[in-house]
Subunit: 324 residues, 2 copies
Amino acid sequence: MSKLPKRVEFHEEGPREGFQIEKKIYPLADRVALVEALAETGLPHIQVASFVNPKKVPGMADTEQLFGAIKKKPGVHYTGLWLNEQGFLRAKATPGVDLQGKLSYYASDRFAMMNNNCSAAEMRERSLRWLDLYEQAGVKLESALIMVAFGCNIQGEVPISAVTDIVRWLHGVLKQRKLHLPNLYLADTVGWANPESIKRRVAAVREIMPEVRIGLHLHDTRGLGGANFYAALEMGVDLFDSSVAGLGGCPFCGNEHGTASGNVCTEDMVFLCHELGIETGIDLEKLIEASRLAERIIGRSLTGKLMHAGSLAKFRAAAKQAAE
Amino acid sequence: MSKLPKRVEFHEEGPREGFQIEKKIYPLADRVALVEALAETGLPHIQVASFVNPKKVPGMADTEQLFGAIKKKPGVHYTGLWLNEQGFLRAKATPGVDLQGKLSYYASDRFAMMNNNCSAAEMRERSLRWLDLYEQAGVKLESALIMVAFGCNIQGEVPISAVTDIVRWLHGVLKQRKLHLPNLYLADTVGWANPESIKRRVAAVREIMPEVRIGLHLHDTRGLGGANFYAALEMGVDLFDSSVAGLGGCPFCGNEHGTASGNVCTEDMVFLCHELGIETGIDLEKLIEASRLAERIIGRSLTGKLMHAGSLAKFRAAAKQAAE
């Protein structure tokens, strides 16, 4: 009934999102095993870890070793996250990192200060230097991401104009530099989005940059992740960040109980796509196995649903056999 | 952008759904406290317990005592579930039960056999006797519910025709008996629904009975509960069963790990409605407190998200104060 996309691309964030929030440092071998299991599912992009201050995020202190230890599968992109120049230079110096030119912006000044220790405007200016760095390093521009694009725990409501201002500014920069931006992500970093705010923002961004592919980085902080994902599909969005088993959560998001959920759960959303007849290129049963591995590694029940209930494949196969 | 309803009505099922699945019998005082806390939130309907075979569902053995122990709040409907005549007669004999004439149907024969020990056709015939019983007892017809309307773990796919056949047959019965059916529920008993199958079935039922109010009884078994709920809102559906804290799950649904989720989570979906500007008459903060009480009673982390992250009210108030 809706104009759903024919194919959806998932970028797996679990290995980074899931372990950055933990106080404990998990064994390297376990994290390697999880990344390798994810690579076997057909996921095209896996964000392995981040190049951030190990004092602030101790769980990501051994990112270089982690990249070195993974047996790579051809065709899979193994990426890392950085939020400043230093992080990029570390990533660049690390063998095995798939360097993709990413730009990061904040729709809330106060969140930028907390997360990045600079204003949102300063972050814009810094991104110009990042563009220079990427050019010098021969790294192709891959995406821009606007954090807290739907609301912020410190600032409160984030108006659409805070998002469209960045998009308009970026559009001008790209035009001036004759650069092509393939993907533009809106991130619901701390769980303020709802299905209608998703639709409104996607429509507003498209008006300014109709040529860009819009991606969504959704968190299921308040239980609306699935509804938001579906609303985005209805808008034809075909690119999503997600976390296996629903791993993760923001370490600085200031939620009440410290147990706030992470990204939308990869296998639950892949299941949604498949049930809607949308291709993903992912082997759902293998992905469920990977999510159960994640749960064994973390050592407590994770928030994914499908991993606990199982998919419908078994029931369908049994019903088919009984009917024959 | 969509034709969302202005107001949505929630029927709380947590006290029944949540405790029927547990092997342990929880203290009566705890269950009384939960029902009383829920009644303070503005929820208009609370399903307290079921009148079923205590040998099969030991957690519901003391339903009569439970009804007797609850301090009732005027205006709140305290209901019970029955699946056969005997159950209705027990409910009728129990003081404090808000007797509502409900009819139950199965869209899958094999699920009916497992859950009710009769065929789906027999269940239809039995419902005629239920109508007689309700008439004799002066109980007004309130709703009909079609179980496994989206798919069945035993039979597999459930075609739309299995649902519309029941609706057409029921429509004929009601016409013949000159009865008015206010509400017709479609139940995704074991988690097979997806947003598009929701839309298709709602549209198909409306074609046959345009005058009936359609309700949905959704489970979040495979993580699509929120997306399904939103898809129903887009169809203008304004009546939902749900469970506080996401309590519950079907004791006979045969999922792999025995930890499958229960109904869609009341407070998460109330939050969704409020964020969309839809009225519910419910005090969300009180409801979150009730969900945390449910978690303390059950004694393990429950699947609701909002109860762990907290609502946005606190952040909005702080941001507003800072801006003044």
